[in-house]
Symmetry: C2
Subunit: 342 residues, 2 copies
DNA sequence: CTGAAAGCGCTTACAG
DNA sequence: CTGAAAGCGCTTACAG
């Protein structure tokens, strides 16, 4: 079961590898190779089940038609689906995807970038974890095509596709306000990442615009690697003693927080939305069937994935163009379900 | 920003590529290269930020240290997490993973296998969609290392890691019986895949062992690419007219079915577990926070992933050993929550 | 219109 | 102990 190579086909027909290569790459016409020979080559290639060795091609041409994808956390459905969109879009253009999950760990993403670099990927799509600035800078310095998704570092010039997190949080908070909620908390993670900062900023601005003073005690910032105990502690602090009614709504900045949060709220015997109204970023399945289906900020995953791939391929194909970085900011939509009452 | 190659280092030091290659591959000792030179090589490699070109290595050695992974559906958290476990375990042994989602589509998986083959992966981990028998056979014929996960084809000899689906469904059904449920339905997908067949078989056997006649009308088999409307229709049929009480429990054979099912049950105004008790395969976040947290058959994802990688690497490293196929059947555990009452 | 030859960046017998 | 050379499977100027 030896694999067949170009020269196997060439020998088989008594022609040169050059010719076979031309034909198989669709350049038969261009080099005016007789149709007869073309057909024979194609036939033999099929017969011997020829599969081009992409690795040899890559070594020779310097392009591997592979892109490296580093997402932040595959256990998060948001990134799972985003990964699939990216893989599908890439496949449409004949590109393969090497897929990594950094689990929000900069050490890991560093190793993964090195690995992808050694694999000679043509470009990168990355949702960088915090403290990975230096890695991204080094990509930029090397003039390697890359695009960032979900977050970026404002101090580093880069291509990136993000959503308007400020606007999304603003509208989500406004939705709560419009339903009469006044004591709205925000649970978020480490404010080292721009997307998280902007979400909390949008929340703040909405309160201000409604002439409600922002109470910093109602903003809970958890470590990135929180578990449900951390979330439970935060919620208990926010809720206060029974009957105290310190808050009447929560904006969760991620679905991981929200899922853990809802679990905790239920176990505390509190009712959604009666006691506490809820809005969360992202739209996992969990929110559709939970106690009180959750009103969410839905991100356009398909569009993020498509745009990221197209932007990257454009960069890969025109390396000459002096790098002008592009920023794409997509809109989110608020899907209203039952978790805020009415 | 030209990448540095072996010969750059060699020139820099006035030695041969051979020597540099030996040192960098940790064979300095073996070839008794003076420690002095070794250190210098290492130093210069670091200084020039040398990154070995894995593609060139691959072409030369015939091994790419890459494994191809085709999972059935990345939008399913089960496979997302399984993918991560596999990637992590592979990384421990210095292997990269090229990640694909076939979306249960045999056309897609066929293309993906061809793509992975062209990328010269050293082996495959696949959860094959139905109607992909020929693809798997062709791998087997080519003596390509591969292991199947989650399902396999009984008529094709293969390495595979699965769970004891019969036992799992048997125990799940028994759990429902032990709580006094008598009219237990099973919602599943196309019975073309062994894992699904075994789940329904386990369900049947549990009923028989409890001297309950299996009512084929209570087994709903949906197409693989079902949406929530299909699930809703099935449930309406099962439930019958209001007050009819045709069933008092459902075993869902997949979490996709279960998530859609619960959404539908709620919208019908039925209560879980009072009107209908529920057990489902798989353990997505959704089940933890839903209306009535769902009792589930939990699969040992970490173990499946680890075992799959180790079995594959073993195969890759000993291609000489006459291929004796291995079967690993892992146990599941039943996580009891509130969806079955008590 | 077609072929011989160089070379991508490695590894590895072989020779000394 | 170290180096020159071949070769993995391709592509692509170059020559005719």
């Amino acid at each position: 079961m030896k694999k067949t190579s170009l020269s196997d086909i060439a020998k088989h027909l008594g022609v040169s590898k050059t010719l076979v290569s031309f034909v198989l790459n669709g350049k038969g016409k261009e080099f005016r190779i007789s149709e007869d020979i073309c057909n024979k080559v194609l036939e033999v290639a099929k017969e011997l089940n020829y599969q081009p060795n992409r690795i040899a091609q890559g070594l020779r041409t310097g392009r591997t038609n592979t892109i490296g994808l580093i997402i932040a956390d595959i256990a998060n459905q948001f990134f799972g689906i985003l990964g699939r969109e990216i893989e599908q879009e890439a496949a449409r253009y004949g590109y393969r995807v090497i897929f990594c999950s950094s689990d929000e760990n900069p050490e890991k993403s560093k190793q993964q970038i090195a690995m992808l670099q050694q694999s000679q990927v043509d470009g990168y799509i990355i949702s960088p974890p915090k403290n990975s600035e230096e890695q991204i800078r080094s990509l930029a310095r090397g003039h390697v095509p890359f695009v960032l998704i979900d977050r970026y570092f404002p101090e580093i010039e880069s291509n990136h596709i993000v959503v308007d997190n400020f606007d999304a949080a603003y509208r989500a908070t406004n939705h709560l306000l419009s339903l009469g909620r006044k004591k709205i908390a925000n649970i978020t993670v480490n404010l080292d990442l721009i997307n998280m900062v902007q979400r909390t900023e949008g929340y703040r601005q909405a309160l201000r615009d409604a002439s409600i003073q922002v109470d910093e005690n109602l903003i809970k910032v958890l470590p990135f690697s929180h578990d449900n105990k951390d979330v439970a502690r935060a919620i208990k602090e926010l809720v206060g003693k029974p009957g105290q009614k310190k808050i009447d709504a929560i904006l969760f900045s991620t679905s991981k927080l929200g899922i853990n949060g809802i679990e905790c709220i239920s176990s505390l015997g509190l009712k959604i939305p009666d006691d506490i109204a809820i809005v969360s970023f992202d739209n996992p399945d969990a929110y559709k069937i939970c106690i009180s289906p959750v009103t969410v900020v839905n991100q356009p995953l398909k569009e993020i994935g498509k745009t990221a791939v197209q932007m990257l391929l454009n960069e890969i194909k025109h390396p000459d163009v002096p790098s002008k970085f592009q920023e794409v900011i997509l809109k989110t939509d608020l899907i209203i379900r039952k978790s805020c009452g009415s």
